[in-house]
Symmetry: C2
Subunit: 342 residues, 2 copies
């Protein structure tokens, strides 16, 4: 078969396996035709300019977080208006939060409630800036949502976010039948959703009826194959050495990154409630997501994985007019509807 | 925030969005620690040497197919021995096949049967060479399997494989209650599994109780984002311009590649039975798989997606001692068990 050699190949060069692994040549990735025009626009946009930033002191962190929050907060009133959702501040046993309510709640959802833990690498999205995902869920899913405004650096450090989530969960599950409660979040919020169940198991708290973990930061040791294969392919996180890594180190404050409360993929996932997981094929955290899926399945947990074509990290949150956003929240809402008591 | 600029970045260069898309720099992908040692060995191995080969005439095709078949056939007796499986040739209404039987069939599976459609880009794996996946399913799942040795070029061309699958399905569903029947296959076999349901719908044949489509060649027009993002990352198919593309063109014999019988992602997937889909994060056909998953979900079909860490195309078939192989077949067998009548 030597006559079927390199001259039959359409490519001049291909990858080789070198001493450090598979050497992949430079490539140009066209914007795919297999997603909506809104998603195409996101994919064709310049990479998130902040991905390289690694603030070096508290003042630089504060300046970065404030600027990002101002942009996020400005988006909230229009989002509420377009999705028919309102919100008001509240506290749960002293933990700050917001009650996010759709203008019309379905009959089945009248006594149900979802606890929301926002994303942002444990440093971004304080206050109202953390509400967009909660508003999307309330709007698309017609659920009442309580979104926790957990403490973040420099106000407090690990495990403050998990402590606040646990306090809020304990308070909420005292006043509402936990069979009618779910928990959800994306990125850091997706990891906190998983860690909260680990914490509830340890502390003997009720377990939620179902959880939704979106592209979770389930392994902040940066272990997992797509930290490499999707580096420079994911347009949001871009690199495992980028902003989100710096932010996690700021939050962890010297704590062991492999602790399951920071990297829940290393926790004991037995006894977890039904779990829906969401990610995309370009997501830097695709491995983080599928590894949790496999560990849940190995533990005998009902777990439903949804991987969206060509999406980078958490892009199902970015444009409420994209059909993929309605689709992702439709899947999650339907999953909660199947698993929460009415 | 201009003081948080490039000097804070750990990278000298990063990707940019150029006129043709996202320009991704060359990278070296280390062998991941997040998979079994067997899978690590597969990932660290040289790329499949034949990926570039595009035979140019019938003699070259025959020589290539025969050589590959000899290697595959040599593996069969040991595989049967280790998994406790035996097989014998049979025909179904004139279509060639094999009955593959585990030494012990579970009570629930006594009257059940799975129809198997092998992979190999519509040209590879004639005769016993196509049996390995059927043996894995019989061994790990304790199901009786009938594996179809469908016609391939140069004996016949499109739609010969689908014709044979449909003839065999019609015959099998006459003698066995279709509620006790499933259909499965990987790659070309994964696409044939989907196309067979499209064909059954058109012809008014019974619909199987459940199907398992592994990393299906669901879009042979080479549309889909991971044809680009996983090019040179997938160690099995390697490139969308490789062997499998040439083989598909040989089989299609001039037929429109977007025909749903060749690219079932373009078919009407409503009324499909519960479907389990399997792929890996490095798979060139990851998009082919998740796009089918999304289309099934949009059509209201129960569809369960399983994406394995760091696996290239169909690697869950390659080493029966890898725990990922047992895991993948365990998931599929359990899915059939839930959906097939006893």
């Amino acid at each position: 078969m030597s006559n079927l050699g390199a001259d039959a190949s359409p490519r001049d060069s291909g990858p080789v396996v070198g001493p450090n692994g598979l050497e992949v040549p430079a490539r140009t990735l066209p914007t795919p035709s297999t997603v909506s025009v809104q998603m195409q626009k996101m994919i064709a946009a310049p990479l998130r300019p902040s991905w390289r930033q690694r603030p070096r002191n508290v003042e630089e962190w504060k300046s970065f977080v404030d600027a990002a929050a101002a942009v996020a907060v400005a988006r909230i009133p229009g989002l509420c208006e377009r999705l028919g959702v309102r919100f008001e501040p509240m506290t749960l046993d002293g933990v700050r939060g917001f009650r996010v309510t759709p203008n019309t709640v379905t009959t089945e959802n009248r006594d149900r409630c979802l606890l929301h833990l926002h994303g942002g690498c444990y440093v971004l999205n304080p206050g109202e800036a953390g509400l967009s995902e909660a508003i999307l869920m309330a709007g698309f899913g017609r659920f009442t949502v309580i979104s926790i405004d957990y403490r973040m650096p420099p106000e407090a450090y690990f495990p403050c976010a998990l402590d606040d989530a646990a306090t809020a969960w304990k308070a909420l599950s005292r006043t509402t039948d936990p069979r009618k409660l779910g928990v959800f979040g994306t990125s850091a919020g997706g990891a906190l959703t998983l860690s909260l169940v680990l914490r509830a198991k340890r502390d003997g708290l009720p377990i939620p009826a179902a959880i939704a973990s979106g592209t979770p930061m389930s392994d902040v040791t940066k272990t997992g194959d797509t930290f490499h294969t999707n580096e420079f392919v994911d347009g949001v996180l871009v690199s495992r050495e980028g902003f989100c890594d710096a932010a996690t180190l700021f939050y962890a404050n010297g704590h062991d990154l492999a602790d399951p409360w920071l990297s829940p993929v290393y926790g004991d996932l037995s006894g977890f409630p039904p779990t829906i997981l969401t990610t995309g094929t370009r997501d830097l955290l695709l491995s983080n997501t599928v590894r949790v899926h496999r560990k849940l399945r190995q533990a005998g947990v009902e777990a439903s994985l949804h991987v969206y074509e060509a999406q980078s990290h958490a892009q199902y949150l970015f444009d409420e007019t994209a059909p993929e956003t309605a689709e992702a929240f439709g899947e999650i809402a339907s999953f909660f509807d199947r698993h929460l008591a009415g």
